[in-house]
Symmetry: C2
Amino acid sequence: MALIVKKFGGSSVANAERVFNVANIIIDDYKKGNDVVTVVSAQGDTTDDLIEKALEINPNGPSKREMDMLLSAGEQISCSLLAMAIESLGYPVVSLLGWQAGFQTNSTYSMARIKKVDPERINMELSKKNIVIVAGFQGLNKYDDITTLGRGGSDTSAVAIAATLKADRCQIYTDVDGVYTADPRLVSNAKKLKAITYNEMLELASLGAQVLNNRSVEMAKKYNVELEVLSSLERKEGTIVKEVTSMEKMLIRGVTKDDKVARISVIGLSDTPGVAFKLFNQLASKKINVDIILQSVGRNGTKDITFTVAMDNCTEAVATIEEMKTILNYSDIKSDLNVSKVSIVGAGMESHPGIASKMFEALFDKNINIQMIATSETKISVLIDAEDSERAVKAIHEKLIG
Amino acid sequence: MALIVKKFGGSSVANAERVFNVANIIIDDYKKGNDVVTVVSAQGDTTDDLIEKALEINPNGPSKREMDMLLSAGEQISCSLLAMAIESLGYPVVSLLGWQAGFQTNSTYSMARIKKVDPERINMELSKKNIVIVAGFQGLNKYDDITTLGRGGSDTSAVAIAATLKADRCQIYTDVDGVYTADPRLVSNAKKLKAITYNEMLELASLGAQVLNNRSVEMAKKYNVELEVLSSLERKEGTIVKEVTSMEKMLIRGVTKDDKVARISVIGLSDTPGVAFKLFNQLASKKINVDIILQSVGRNGTKDITFTVAMDNCTEAVATIEEMKTILNYSDIKSDLNVSKVSIVGAGMESHPGIASKMFEALFDKNINIQMIATSETKISVLIDAEDSERAVKAIHEKLIG
């Protein structure tokens, strides 16, 4: 007998048929004598429909406190419907809202952090042999007001419950059946990984492989919760995410691309100390994250700094630097949205220098120009023209994974 | 400065335009320096849509506990949207769910009774000069599970808050502008009443005038909460419901009809003591309410008993009596759904015997046959053919009210 936490996303419960599919997955594990707690997101487009209703009332965006009150109704609907499906199949079940399930958060509406999960109610229901369905994505702050955890928050809800209850497994069901070495829609012979470490998963997630929410992986790592990513539509093993994976031949875990980046170049900066500090400090104060940074060698007393930011932040980043014109005393500023970041991820790549050169060779073979390079313990990223990104992923995957 | 409780039904907040209409009504009272607490029902067809979703999952009807979990999402959506409209107009506002507003109920899911309203949170918000929006129809039981108060429960929510806070006024906004002497769609010169007593309102409500939920009137009477029934679409005075109304010339408060009744006749019962007791006791044990009762004079050692029940209960009532065939030893049982109950309501009618005869005269003039008659302190009801009911209401209204 094990304690299993499951999480199903909105598309997995989008209609009555899919709700019953999920109900049967849960019942199969319950029938084997397991305790099962399931976290569920809002059905299909419910959240988007509610956002639309809110923007119809206030196109400038309502307060986040009221927005959380509104959006949390979505998971309330899906968790009660899933419970109804299970009870109609003859199994004991109870649905719980975030606050009933003990989710205590801080008061950052729309992006609340979980402070604690009080397990009393869930444990009480499990002791009565009830299947427990929990509304994901939501909690309660110290004022007794409803908060939400931000998009993808249901993954975090599931991991938080698994950590609190010391669950044996935390299964995240999605519309893909695991983590692949590349997007299967892009690379036809992408391979499904049996296992991957938390760090590798974090690199993959932040690089654009939208399988697991990053906060949930961070929390799983912190509390050592073993995750499984698997399909809600097919009954087969998924990908395990854990601290250490057994040595596998394949060193590279995946090839990813991120098209939502922009490159900014500040040209003709005076080649004096503190220039880079002032520039990036100011961007940080505006909460603009900078990714790859390239600084030219000083020449004639000036230098250039080029860096990448998320595409959404490009306009604000450029405006911020323009405000600093007199302080930084540069000659020109350029930005380019037609770029893409292509990366390979795998633990311990630094000790295998051959991998980087193979990656560059794959790009050279296809005549793809590399604009910038960044490396870390677990990844190598290159910035290239956006129009080359799909060809690049395919070429690198073929050369390094096959 | 006064403390005003308002309640708006689902049609009053059915879309964004109407939500803003309601927001402006609230703001108008707030701007005058009043404290305003507003109870709101689910938007338009939301509740019906949610019921449909539930029946798609389980056509036999889900458990009431899960049904309450599901349906309470409807008021959660409408109360946050109304708050968003008010904040977008620049006024301080907070939405509260039933449990946040302090509604404690018993555990009769889908028909919960309010045990207590803890006013702490609402008072705290009012002291901060916030407009308070409360999700109607819902509360929390001692297990911390969500309950609903049954259809029309938002009226009861409003009266309960008004009673707890000792509000100066409790305004129930509907799609009609007050209580009329007859259904204005039926009787073109029906008159709007300025005031009506609780007892008269209760008679009108139970007789088919669907303006106010009966439980809410009973609660208003018990706690002496002065109600006003008024229109959310037109800004004009409605009808006041209170303990004592000033003497008005018009004795009759209204003429109503109820088409959802059935007549059942049990024929050839033995004319011995205890027969009626056994019959009605058994019906009561099945929670079937019996309304008008007519017992024939005994003849040849047998008698007939005829009575009316709500149309929905007719099949079960007949089945119940058929099960008692050997006990009651009757010869035949007949039921008729094509009947209608037409009533006149007014306090102290008993001391004005002329009124009954005028009512019967009006029916005689139109050649309408009276099947049964029932009288009480505040009403006179007749059972007639369903096809005659509209003509009957018009004729009686013309004769007694004009």
